[in-house]
């Protein structure tokens, strides 16, 4: 098992997380994914990368430097995305019960390992 797969498995193991994936940021495609339940992995990759791209440009124009963690919270779940270098994103989707603090730490850890 590759390092990336191992890292994704650790993210997926966090309570409430429905799945995790590694995404190519410029083209919004799945590189590798772990136990993605009930969600179209391709949609997650495309939408997360698009959102991350827009926020990266906005953060740069605000003088905030590069984004390190992105969290989109909805009524019933959360999308988390952490850039790993310029080209990759580690992404997780969790339900309402997700331990977001732990998921965030695992994603940061995974990104450090992959970048």
């Amino acid at each position: 098992m590759s390092g990336a797969d191992h890292a994704l498995r650790r993210v997926s193991a966090v309570r409430g997380v429905r799945g995790a994936m590694l995404v190519s940021a410029p083209d919004g495609l799945v590189i590798s994914e772990s136990s993605m339940e009930d969600v179209d992995g391709r949609a997650i990759a495309a939408l997360a990368a698009s959102l991350a791209g827009r926020l990266r440009r906005a953060a740069a124009s605000a003088g905030l430097g590069r984004p390190t963690v992105i969290q989109l919270r909805g009524e019933t779940g959360t999308l988390l995305a952490v850039p790993a270098g310029d080209e990759l994103l580690v992404v997780a989707v969790g339900d309402r019960e997700t331990n977001l603090g732990l998921a965030r730490l695992e994603l940061l850890e995974a990104a450090r390992g992959i970048a």
Binding site: R54, R57, G63, L64, I70, Q71, R73
Partner: protein, 294 residues
Amino acid sequence: MNDDVRALTSELARDPGSLVFLDLAEVLRRRGQLDAALTVAASGLARYPALADAHALHARILAERGDGDGAFDGWMNALQLEPAHQAAHRGLGFLYYRAGDLARALRHLEFAAQAAPEDAGLRAAIERVRVAAAPAPAEALAGGTAAGEVVAEAAPAPTSRAIPFAIDSGSGTSSESELFAGLDGARDGLLLLDQHGLRLGGALRNEDGADVSDAVAAHLAGVSREAARAARLLGLGEWQSLGVECEDGNAHLVAPTAETVLLTVRDVSVPAGRLGLVAERAAQAARRWLERVA
């Protein structure tokens, strides 16, 4: 003028491969001979399909003939060939304005102004679009800019008047100063914008103290739509907030109303959780203010 046309026509006849078609089509256009202008521009374009000026002129003539779709395609082609093409940005600015897409209109007009900073007419149009309370496009876009006249003549009134109050990018109106009154960061870390990326109130400053409100607002145009789309397609329900931790600061986005977005920015010492609370308080203030000014 007639002599102009005659001279240019015979020059073009002598050398069909020359770029004189641009001058001839332009002269015909100014004289209102749009059919002839179009024929000349189209044949020039067929010969020089990679010439941005030819696309832009062709588009301009189509716009004057009332073919907005054709003009849009032409100006987009010009930009693909020459991303900073001034006339194409100007033309698209006016088309977007006409369609009521003020954020895109503004972006294109600002690009156009970068290439022609001395163009007072363009600057005035930008200000008017910013304020977005113009009584009619013909007035808003006047000021001697030819493309403005063109599209304004052909254009019906803008369909979108979604912005219910004036946006003053100066020192702030009395009502705007009430927006985030009493809140920490009211003048440098809270920014309320509409869905088109136009600033409604508040301000954002970078670490050098420069006002970056408009640039950030432009980048966030459509962000609420995109957040809503992602949340919907990923089965996350309605979106509630978008948090962005960055190297040099943290940002938090919420939607106080369906048409607005509130950006809260603090330095990295403010943890993401607390930023959410600050943002929620500011969102309440924004909702109250929006109700008052509407």
